[in-house]
Amino acid sequence: MVAETGHFALILALLVALVQATVPLIGAQRRDAALMAVAGPAAIVQFLLAAAAFFALMYCYVTSDFSVLNVAQNSYSNKPLFYKITGVWGDHEGSMLLWELILTGYAAAVALFGGKLPQGLRTRALAVQSMVSFSFLLFILLTSNPFLRLVPAPLNGQGLNPLLEDPGLAFHPPILYLGYVGFSMAFSFAIAALIEGKVDAAWAHWIRPWSLAAWCFLTLGITGGSWWAYYTLGWGGWWYWDPTENASFMPWLAGTALLHAATVVEKRGTMKAWTVLLAIITFSLSLLGTFLVRSGVLTSVHSFATDPQRGVYILTLLGVVIGGSLALFGLRAPSLKSGALFAPVSREGGLLFGNVFLSAALGTVLLGTLYPLFADALNLGKVSVGPPFFNATFVPIMIPVCIAMPVGALLAWKRGNLQLALKRLLPAFLVAAALAVCVALLMAGQGRFITAAAAVALAAWILVGMLTGLAQQIHFREVPFKTSLQRLLKLPRTFHGMTVAHIGMACVILGITGSTLGRVQNIQIMHIGDTVHISGFDVTLKKVRDDIKGPGYTFSRGTFDVSSHGKPVTVMYPEKKHFTVPPEDTTHAAIRTTLLGDLYVVLAGHDAKGGYITRIYYDPFVVWIFLGGGLFAAGGLLSITDRRHRVGAPQRNNEAAPERKTS
């Protein structure tokens, strides 16, 4: 019964979506307040219906109702309750339902908390959001219905891929989707603004909290996924340029550009058309990501569902969304004239510079990700584009962005003084140069030590440069320390957010450099008592216990003593689990994390002669990648909580007439 209730709720949601997508829009065009008022309640009802469907599916999972096909295929009665719940979004149908839940959730949030928005914009945005929601509900009902019954019901389910049975991964999809789907709100606001034909500073201000929220979640999702890959897959890799990773990374890049461009619209009233275009592109890339992951057109280490019918549906949807919104954009963009003068040497000039390079970087990722598709379609053979391609294109394009970052932050709006900014950045330059020389001398002779020195210098340049900007804002050492401190506390949170997020970039660069250029790894066969020397550590295999019983699996656990220069450091216990349903092995590395570097020990299995195959890494500074990702999100969060977003939000000059001529 519960499954049917869920199914019914989905169908009802589809009908509500249809109403919400049309009636308020007609109302907004006719300025009929009664019709427009439908949008808010409809959005809330739609969200409640989606939630009802979602929890109905969760109920089927928790009670192990194997008469539901989806549950039978992806769950197992012995599974711990926690994984029964998270298993809901462990497969295609459930994760699409989660997608829909979040999509309607954002709309409901706008309906509930968007009271300050002008009615026309809010109504139209909710209608556009509902069009997207309608398409997804139709997609779920037609191709991915999670509530289909299975007759006869099997006695037990087929289990979830045990790789996905991990607390980190359990929360990965919801957070990632909150980001992915969150950009739908920016998209809906952009389309609504295009329909209204009005993009101004107030509009940019309104989309900011929504885009920031989505961006924070996406950042956390990508960082979390990267961390999951790092500790779970047993390879110590944190980024593979895998299509699925790129699928979430491309909206992130576009979203990052969008946040920066929206600042320019807000402060200077220029770059309007570009910002609207970015909002469209960002969400289109989210859809493209869904298509890439869900259709299985790209061979990926990740994709756990392949079905051409679904692929065709999403591809059609993608075509309609991109085609439709770009057509609307083409129609309306000429009217988005920017009034203000635009000086190249200014904050907005710096932001534009960053935007151009971010877009170019995005272009290379897009090309590398889609090329195998084109090549296959054009019969050029089956190809894959590997990490070396992305490293050779993406990284060099990002370098100018990083160099320009502190400079742009020090330039004033409207008209900046480049000479003055560079003079202020002299200390940052000196610190960077000194560090580069140190690193070069320390690592001299080792391969790629010049690259390492340059990268460390770049990280230092950003860090000290951003701190210089902060010092300038609080008149550090120009006024008494106490006054500086007061100024520091009074600075807008957006400024702190900007500083923190950019320092996060310095951390990420440090981590990537340490891990890619400084990693030491040993793969060997060890017998009990053997010692491996690595980066100043002595790692000794003490014992291995096999066939320990766990819930739903058995596992082997190795005990490794780690000492450094004769002093014991720690004991590490890597594990290898053997699942029975479905029959899979998973590797659980033991990792000792410090800010200087990670020691990573993997027990990979037996060899025929009683030895153990082990893999031992030392990964310098790798944790800084994840810390940097955390700082990105923290910066975004600081920015959202800026008081300007809560009280005294800017009002349009002509608030009395929120409706503009629409044609």
Binding site: F304, V356, G381, S384, F389, A392
Partner: protein, 145 residues
């Protein structure tokens, strides 16, 4: 200088920046493309000599049942597309998802008339994975084995 021409000059400067960025991106991309495209072949195509002789490529198929032989860190196995199979040698640790009768992609090159040396072995998350070309034959095979 009038305001208009200054404005135009600025616009020219922006265009220049954008063009330079585009040119740099295109250049890097084309260079990286030539070096880093990995072509994908099935064992039958490799047997027919379609694979590059002195360039890395990827080969996909199923791990032939009963073909896995481990000797310390060195592993021998065969990749099959059910018509032909090619012996593969790999030194290192196999991914957890590497199993008999499962989809696998190996990256490396031919080092003998009938030997593929792999630098990398990729196994799929998805037990249902298979190279698209062989789906009908695969289905039959999976039903009988």
């Amino acid at each position: 200088m009038s305001l208009l021409t200054r404005k135009h000059k600025r616009r020219g400067a922006f265009l220049a920046v954008i063009l330079i960025a585009l040119a740099a991106a295109t250049f890097l991309m084309l260079r990286a493309f030539n070096e880093n495209l990995l072509f994908y072949f099935l064992p039958t195509q490799v047997k027919e000599g379609q694979a590059p002789k002195n360039h890395d490529f990827r080969m996909g198929g199923l791990v032939l049942k009963g073909s896995i032989k481990k000797d310390g860190l060195t592993v021998h196995f065969e990749v099959t597309d059910l018509h032909n199979s090619i012996p593969v040698v790999y030194k290192g640790i196999l991914p957890d998802l590497f199993h008999e009768n499962r989809g696998v992609i190996v990256e490396g090159r031919m080092t003998g008339p009938d030997l593929f040396t792999a630098d990398q072995v990729l196994a799929k998350h998805d037990a249902k994975y298979q190279p698209p070309e062989m789906t009908p034959a695969m289905k039959k095979y999976m039903q009988t084995h």
